[in-house]
């Protein structure tokens, strides 16, 4: 589904990632773990087109998407969430999700400004779809609140609803459990499985080991910019190198 | 509670008093004659607008103190155009429609004047502009007059002097604003008639702080004299740069710097500079026989008494405009159309900027004798004879 080949990223002399390769099978849940500074978020940024890698290739299915812009990738069904929750704070919760439907609608500036019939029809469908995604994550009651006024946990959910509105094939989540309490985390695990049930591939970067071991079918371990191991949760838990470099540290 | 009541009583008392006072003046005096004024009191042309406003206000106060015109007081409504044509147009509309003025003096700049001309032409209100641009009264517009001397007259005065000195190759350095570009046009337009050749033609920006590059280029061009056309502070920088570069050519300036401020800014570098100016800055040096001398002294002394500084060339434009206007009102009453006709009949009026004679063909009213040449000697003006 998604594979990276020999990704290397050098920032002005500092090597953040070195020759990282792995692939993700369709409809799976893959976790990427590693201590701080291992290069997890950098990897996400490269895959989603925010950074330009120094070397290496990224494939989505058969397609080489190595240097695609984020907006193009969204059109291809690759979408992500952010570690620090990047919501459109001044817009309502519903509108946030409606932005997620941007690639699913076509009206241009002129039909929008002149409210041509096609645009009105489209707007209605977009609104209905957006409500459906809010129902999916359980945010319908908050639909008209400004996103910046949401509590943190619900902000995370909104980010996921917004990403789902893109109707992705694959969704990359950057530490979705960070800052959530245990009840919220349990809800998140359930939501992740629900997303998988829709036939969507999931990749998550996460520090919450319990969540990772719980939901992930396969885990990639990064350390100091290099891939340390790749396997099932059980294999990873037993991997000596991983324990030494990572779990042992904790 | 008590205090509130007390202050209310006091307040209403004061209010009634004020109202009574106003009503009283309204009832007992004949309504004042309203004159509008558009000056660029702030903004880049404030150096024009400020003395003009001061002068106009002074004239009105003087006239009112001596009983007004035929018993009627004058009321001056001043609007600041900030040198912005849009604000000038708003202002002129307000003066005409809201204040219902009978005539307008100003604006200070050519741009503002050009912008308000269509409005006054349509409304039929006489306007006496204090700006110099030749376009204002050429071609003649029915309702528009002006008091500032055409730049062409200043150019002619300098060229005449150059002819006398047998100088024929000159360099010009003009500022890239309305004043400078008008000067540049006139310098070029009159050159041929005087047999003068402009061999270097340079400009500088109004905010420039160093003109050595242009002057170096001029020096290499081989001119016999330099004419700089601008308003403070640019020409002062030019004067200093000329001295710094050790250029020995005679330096001429325009009437745009005929104020003491220029001498102050240029300091020793001002020595020997020659410029055309209205007679106002050398009022005391004028011979007794000079036709304008009385007017000049009255203005200079009056201004000094009120504002503690010497009146200048620019304030003089407003003085002339006010005088021409009040003379016309005195003869024709407060009907705008009658005022206009009376203005056009003005003949041999001795003003500050020169001796004005308007006619149906000429709404500028001056000849090149409006200017005299002055030289800066010992940090002061000296009449060149």
């Amino acid at each position: 589904m998604l594979s990276v080949e020999g990704i290397t990223q050098i920032f002005g002399g500092l090597t953040a990632l070195e020759d990282v390769s792995f692939s993700v099978t369709p409809r799976s849940i893959t976790g990427i773990i590693g201590p701080n500074g291992a290069g997890k978020t950098t990897l996400f940024n490269i895959v989603t087109g925010l950074y330009t890698q120094t070397e290496g290739k990224v494939y989505l299915g058969e397609k080489n998407i190595s240097f695609f812009a984020p907006e193009t990738l969204a059109g291809l069904g690759l979408v992500r969430t952010f570690q620090n929750v990047e919501l459109f704070g001044q817009m309502s919760v519903l509108e946030n999700v409606m932005v997620g439907l941007h690639t699913k609608s076509k009206s241009g500036i002129f039909s929008c400004a002149f409210k041509l019939p096609g645009q009105i029809r489209e707007e209605k469908t977009v609104r209905e779809k957006a409500y459906r995604w809010l129902e999916f994550t359980g945010l319908v009651d908050e639909a008209d609140i400004a996103a910046c006024n949401l509590p943190f946990g619900k902000g995370r959910l909104l980010e996921i609803s917004r990403a789902m509105a893109v109707e992705p094939q694959i969704i990359l989540m950057d530490e979705p459990a960070a800052g959530l309490n245990s009840r919220e985390t349990a809800g998140l695990a359930e939501l992740i499985r629900k997303i998988q049930d829709l036939g969507i591939t999931i990749v998550l970067v996460e520090h919450d080991m319990e969540l990772v071991m719980d939901v992930c079918e396969s885990i990639v371990v990064l350390n100091l910019g290099k891939k340390l191991a790749h396997g099932t949760p059980r294999e990873i838990q037993e991997d000596k190198a991983v324990i030494a470099a990572y779990l042992g540290e904790d | 509670m008590k205090r509130g009541l007390f202050s209310k009583v006091v307040f209403s008392f004061i209010f009634t008093m004020l109202f009574g006072l106003m009503a009283g003046t309204l009832v007992f005096a004949a309504p004042p004659v309203k004159i509008g004024a558009l000056f660029s009191v702030s903004g880049p042309a404030a150096f024009l607008g400020e003395p003009e406003r001061n002068t106009a206000q002074m004239v009105v106060d003087e006239i009112n103190k001596t009983g007004g015109i035929k018993g009627r007081k004058l009321e001056l409504v001043v609007i600041d155009t900030q040198g912005d044509p849009a604000k000038a147009v708003q202002g002129v509309n307000k003066l005409i429609k809201d204040n219902k003025v009978v005539a307008i003096i100003g604006p200070s700049t050519t741009g503002d004047s050009m912008a308000v001309i269509p409005v006054v032409e349509k409304a039929g209100i006489p306007l006496i502009s204090c700006a110099a641009g030749i376009k204002i009264t050429e071609p003649v517009k029915k309702w528009v007059f002006k008091t500032a001397q055409n730049d062409g007259l200043a150019v002619a005065k300098i060229y005449e002097y150059l002819n006398k000195q047998k100088i024929s190759k000159i360099a010009i350095l003009t500022v890239s604003d309305g004043f400078g570009s008008s000067g540049r046009e006139q310098l070029a337009a009159h050159a041929k008639a005087f047999g003068i050749d402009i061999i270097s033609n340079e400009t500088y920006g109004p905010k420039d702080t160093d003109m050595t590059a242009q002057l170096t280029k001029i020096r290499a061009g081989g001119a016999q004299a330099i004419i700089c056309w601008g308003t403070n502070p640019g020409p002062a920088v030019v004067a200093r740069n000329v001295k710094q570069l050790g250029i020995k050519l005679p330096l001429f300036m325009s009437h745009g710097v005929s104020s003491k401020k220029f001498i102050e800014l240029a300091g020793p570098a001002a020595e020997g500079i020659i410029l055309p100016s209205g007679r106002v800055i050398v009022a005391n040096q004028m011979p007794k026989t000079d036709y304008q001398k009385k007017a000049l002294l009255s203005y200079v002394n009056g201004y000094k008494k009120v504002y503690k500084v010497e009146g200048d060339h620019f304030g003089g434009h407003a003085w002339d405009a006010m005088m021409l206007l009040t003379n016309a009102i005195e003869k024709a009453g407060d009907n705008p159309s009658a005022i206009r006709d009376q203005l056009e009949k003005t003949a041999k009026f001795a003003g500050i900027g020169g001796t004005f004679s308007y006619s149906a063909q000429d709404h500028a009213g001056l000849t090149k004798d409006a200017f005299v040449l002055v030289e800066i000697k010992n940090q002061n003006w000296k009449l060149v004879k």
Binding site: - | T209, A213, T216, E264, L265
Partner: protein
């Protein structure tokens, strides 16, 4: 046709104007490097320096040197007030709000200066005489030497301050990562305040040393500020040699442009260069490609 000293004169003129631009550019760089703010009011401190000096000279009748020192102190006070009243209380720290606030401050300072000192232009006496010096057929004023000297002095002082003093190092740390700096016990707020103080002091110094040549009035700040900004952009936002080179290059291009192409378009030339650099090499001409932060 060419006068013997013509080219030399253009170069000298360009260099001396360039040194002024560089000095003004420093002020931008210091605040930007410590806070990420581009202070659009920087030019106004240049104006304040000159105007305060003239005010003190004429109203308090102090000799030149104490007057200059006092003027720098006054301008620095204005800088402190500016930071305390308009920058620090700001909650919504978006670049856009900072742009607007600093523009607002520049308009406000300019307006206040106009109300207090009037609209007239004033001249400051030269520090050491006004007899030009001759160099290879060209001339410069003694004041130009002051400008070169003070610019060099400020570069050196800057270098020493930021490389060797604890305060300077702390300021650099803040610029690199304010959060991390606060973790190691650096008071970030003080550092921001300090950067405003240093840059308003340098700005006013620039305003004072150029006033004898260029004269000053309430509205000189805009153009000088923008030119200083050009210098610092060409120089890649450095508070050292880069900006000096940027300023000198700008000055040279202007004077050669005025001399050999057209004086009317010399400012346009400067701004077209600014745009080109922003478009093509936003990291400046004299810096290696910026290291992207992770």
């Amino acid at each position: 046709m060419d006068h013997p000293g013509q080219l030399v004169q253009y170069v000298l003129t360009g260099l001396s104007n360039g040194a002024i631009y560089a000095l003004i550019g420093f002020g931008f760089a210091i605040i930007h490097n410590a806070t990420g703010i581009l202070n659009f009011a920087q030019g106004e401190f240049v104006m304040l320096g000159g105007m305060f000096t003239i005010f003190i000279l004429s109203f308090l009748n102090l000799p030149l040197i104490p007057a200059i020192m006092l003027a720098i102190i006054f301008s620095t006070l204005v800088g402190i007030l500016f930071e305390r009243l308009a920058i620090r209380p700001l909650k919504n720290v978006k670049p856009l709000s900072l742009v607007i606030i600093t523009i607002g401050a520049s308009i406000f300072i300019r307006g206040a200066a106009m109300l207090i000192w009037g609209k007239d232009t004033h001249a400051l006496p030269a520090f050491s005489g006004s007899n030009p010096l001759y160099v290879y057929g060209a001339t410069i004023m003694p004041q130009h030497l002051w400008i070169f000297g003070i610019t060099i002095m400020i570069i050196i002082a800057n270098k020493l301050f930021f490389s060797y003093s604890i305060l300077g190092k702390a300021m650099r740390a803040c610029a690199y990562n304010a959060h991390a700096a606060s973790l190691v016990g650096i008071d970030v707020k003080i550092m921001v305040l300090l950067s405003f103080m240093v840059s308003s002091a340098i700005g006013s110094m620039a305003g004072i040393i150029i006033a004898p040549l260029t004269m000053t009035s309430y509205d000189v700040g805009i153009m000088l500020g923008i030119k200083g900004f050009c210098a610092v952009i060409i120089g890649g936002m450095s508070s050292g040699l880069g900006t000096v080179l940027g300023g000198l290059l700008l000055g040279l291009l202007e004077s050669l442009g005025a001399g050999y192409i057209s004086a009317s378009y010399k400012d346009a030339i400067a701004f077209i260069i600014l745009l080109l650099i922003l478009f093509i090499r936003p990291e400046g001409l004299f810096k290696q490609k910026a290291t992207q932060r992770v």
